[in-house]
Amino acid sequence: MFGLLVAQNIAFYVIAALIVFGALRVVTCKNLVHAALWLVLVLAGVAGQYILLAAEFVAVTQVLVYLGAIVVLFLFGIMLTRAKTGHDLELDNPTPAKVGAGVIGVLLLGVMGYALWDAWRGQELGDIVVQRTAEVSDSLFSTYLLPFEVISVLLLAALIGAIVLARRD
């Protein structure tokens, strides 16, 4: 039991270090395409943390939607819209913008950290409960049946909206 907790903690910190490293590379990378690829490492690390928290379905969703679709969309966006082609992909921001971004990042960290600390102050978090995908399925087909069907309408609206926006006629 104790060994498992130690192993879980070690895995958490290793993955967290990878995420932080990847995130720093995303913002410091000069090449936009490489930044998007570093983002893959960050999102994959988050999926790994979900697995450590025994949230299997969330992890699979993270891999399929974020790694699979969102990053592909990012790369497509870069490939399609970049006006400047060629090897001179030197991206940088002026120093005031960097300082501003740093200040906002620290503020956001403070607010979110305080919110977490405030919400669970002094509470003992219980053992991790394994969330099986079958349980997600059970609630999907009972309590949340109607919202589930509404999601398909929402996706349909998004699909048609995307087609209408992408095509001029």
Binding site: V60, L64, M79, G86, L145, S152
Partner: protein, 124 residues
Amino acid sequence: MSEYSEFVRQYLTVAIFAAVGIGLGAGLLGLGRIFRPVRPQEQKYLVYESGVDPVGTGWSQSQIRYYIYALLFVMFDVEAVFLFPWATRLEAYSTFGLIEMLIFVVILALGLLYAWRKKVLRWV
């Protein structure tokens, strides 16, 4: 906690598989790097495609018409995510689940039909 231990152990297998896969590739490439002679020539670093010298750079702009396919892919990817929980309880919700999932898929298929009718899918 033992259930959690078993769960994590299953994913440890996945992690070991991934590590062995990456290690195998990196190890073989590293071995090649150690043993092969290094005689750099400019021609060796050209992109090779059917023996024809490449024109322009690899960083060129892509055609905008790929974008609609990327958007369609995102939508149907999200749809695929919802198929997984259904698949885990396929027997438990046999006919009821099938009908519910059919409604879900058919509503989204209307979007594909729309795209097809709008001639988005045709490569002009």
